[in-house]
């Protein structure tokens, strides 16, 4: 029943969900980032170099790549704390494009078994053979992706139900009020951006090892804007929102292959119409709150 094609789609949904969660984290702190694909890319390259060229174990490389992406996210956020709104969005876009274009110039190759392996500019980075060398089936790798995704969601869920999550949402709704309340805005913005970079990094590293080949062109602005759109379609009220967005997009696009060539016309129009009625997505804050009330009412009775 679960053929390889379906598994690829499912694992794709899992990996893209991570970058969507990353864009969502920035969105709830009230900023729009066009640049989350940069952290996805940084971790994809760093993680793959660690496993293929340095021979690191997979989990260490995953943490290493994501950590690097998180540090980069924090750094960029620290540089851009003074600006907000469209200025912030364009600054992140500029950074992401700088990363992508620098990767076109980035070459770092080792000779392994008579073959030159490693990232080589625009030719990309192939032969990321970790899943073949360790005999991991697509099913096993998909489960691994979903394990990481589950841990990530649980982590974000815990954050959202703690004081930290409250502060993040406060920054998003009213930074001035937050600072009057004694919240150190800069510190929390940098923290949120680092977490977002880390989340995107997890997805990027897994993506590289799933496809065994990456090139700078994958991490273009379209990936970033899509991940932003997922949060807005699915809803900004809960961490499940961006995942609903991804499932709708990838699932919908895959299921309407019959009208290939017209799917963007249909999907783009649907999305625009949907945003008129639900400007903060399907599961926005109000609906999440209402569901919660409904649920609590039921359990009490």
């Amino acid at each position: 029943m679960l053929n390889d094609y379906l598994l690829t789609v499912i694992s794709n949904i899992g990996m893209i969900s991570m970058i969507a969660i990353s864009a969502y984290l920035i969105l709830i702190t009230g900023e729009i980032s066009f640049g989350q694909q940069a952290y996805f890319g940084i971790s994809a390259y760093a993680g793959s170099i660690a496993t293929t060229l340095w021979g690191w174990p997979f989990w260490m490389a995953l943490i290493f790549g994501s950590f690097l992406a998180g540090v980069a996210g924090g750094l960029i956020s620290a540089l851009t704390v003074r600006i907000n709104g469209i200025y912030y969005s364009i600054a992140t876009l500029a950074f992401a494009e700088m990363v992508r274009l620098s990767l076109l110039k980035f070459s770092y190759q080792f000779e392994i078994d008579g073959e030159w392996i490693g990232p080589n500019g625009s030719e990309g980075f192939g032969e990321i053979r970790w899943i073949f060398e360790n005999d991991i089936s697509i099913l096993e790798y998909t489960l691994l992706i979903y394990l990481v995704l589950f841990l990530l969601i649980a982590f974000i869920y815990l954050i959202e139900h703690s004081k930290l999550g409250m502060i993040f949402r406060m920054l998003g709704q009213d930074p001035l009020l937050a600072s009057v309340q004694g919240v150190k805005i800069i510190r929390y913005k940098v923290l949120a951006a680092s977490l977002a970079g880390f989340a995107a990094g997890l997805g990027g590293m897994l993506y590289a090892h799933s496809f065994t080949y990456i090139e700078p062109q994958i991490f273009n602005v379209m990936l970033g804007v899509h991940s932003l759109a997922y949060g807005l379609i699915g809803g900004l009220g809960t961490v499940l929102g961006p995942i609903i967005g991804v499932v709708l997009d990838i699932g919908f696009l895959e299921s309407i292959r019959g009208i290939q060539g017209y799917r963007m016309i249909v999907f783009g129009g649907l999305m625009a119409v949907m945003l008129i009625f639900m400007p903060r997505g399907i599961l926005d804050e109000k609906r999440v709150h209402r569901f919660k009330k409904f649920w609590e009412g039921k359990t009490h009775v």
């Binding site: 003074r82 930074p175 060539g261 016309i265 625009a272």
Partner: protein, 300 residues
């Protein structure tokens, strides 16, 4: 050495006048709406595709291409305005941006259905000639674009600062609700702004593409990027800033291309933008932005 540099600067200004044209449209729409219209570049592209289609299928007439390009861009602009900006409520700026992105995807696919090949010829406005000024050269069609750009800047400036309609647009952009009390109909201001912006976009697309003499599906992304960068460099909401930003971007790119390669050219333009946003976020002509003061003053 110095001749090369000066020649690069001339080339940069010539190409940069195209960026300035795009930035003019961006700065107008952002100045009025305070919302980002990502689908501006793609709507120009689809307009130009319609123009090319009429060139290939109806008649080999340059004026017809110009007319169809501008008309199609205006129609698409109205579509974008109605769907992404009028219907989406004002408080949710992110939603209109994302929905303009969704429309971007839609427009690109429609363009590909209209003309499915990779590249199409775009008619040249007049036969390209190389004008020589001593040791320096400039292509005549770029020079023409430069002149048109300056003319448009003057016309727009006069329109915005010298007419009653321009006053209404400025009033709306300053304070929408206060202008409503003065009897200015906000939605017709928006509509008008979109029509003006689409006309500028149609002219810009036509001139840039006829200088390139070809059109590809990448033009939409390219136009959005170049227009955005030039606008941010010059300062949001300032017409002369948009023009200056475009010219600076052109000069930097031309020099980076000459001393480096296409990748270095692109990196340097984004690096310029990033540094500018960090050091002086308001752009060259823009005012300083103080986040907290601004929010606080809006409260009062």
């Amino acid at each position: 050495m110095i001749t090369d540099f000066v020649q690069n600067c001339i080339d940069g200004i010539m190409v940069g006048s195209g960026y300035s044209l795009l930035a003019l449209g961006f700065t107008l729409v952002f100045g009025v709406l305070k919302r980002l219209n990502l689908s501006y570049g793609p709507s120009i592209m689809l307009g130009a595709y319609v123009g090319t289609w009429s060139f290939l299928n109806i008649a080999d007439n340059i004026w017809l291409v110009l007319l169809t390009t501008i008309c199609a861009t205006v129609v698409i602009g109205i579509y974008v305005e109605q769907l992404c900006f009028r219907a989406v409520s004002k408080e949710t700026t992110i939603a209109s941006m994302v929905s303009s992105f969704a429309i971007w995807m839609q427009l690109e696919e429609i363009a590909l259905h209209l003309l499915p090949e990779r590249t199409y010829p775009f008619p040249a406005f007049f036969d390209s000639g190389l004008l020589e000024f001593g040791p320096f050269t400039a292509r005549s069609e770029y020079l023409f674009m430069f002149v048109v750009m300056l003319l448009l800047l003057l016309i727009l400036h006069a329109f915005i600062y010298r007419t009653r309609i321009g006053l209404a647009i400025r009033a709306y952009s300053d304070h929408p609700s206060a202008s409503a009390y003065m009897g200015i109909d906000g939605s017709s201001v928006l509509f008008l702004a979109f029509i003006i912006v689409s006309i500028i976009g149609g002219i810009a697309g036509f001139l840039i593409l006829s200088a390139d003499s070809q059109i590809t599906p990448f033009f939409g992304l390219w136009a959005t990027f170049k227009g955005l960068i030039a606008m941010m460099l010059g300062g949001i909401g300032s017409l002369s800033g948009a023009v200056l930003g475009g010219l600076i971007l052109g000069v930097i790119e031309a020099n980076a291309f000459w001393y480096g390669d296409p990748v270095i050219r692109d990196i340097s333009s984004f690096m310029l933008l990033f540094t500018m946003l960090i050091i002086r976020p308001g752009g060259i002509f823009g005012h300083k932005i103080e986040i907290h003061q601004k929010i606080a003053s809006e409260r009062v």
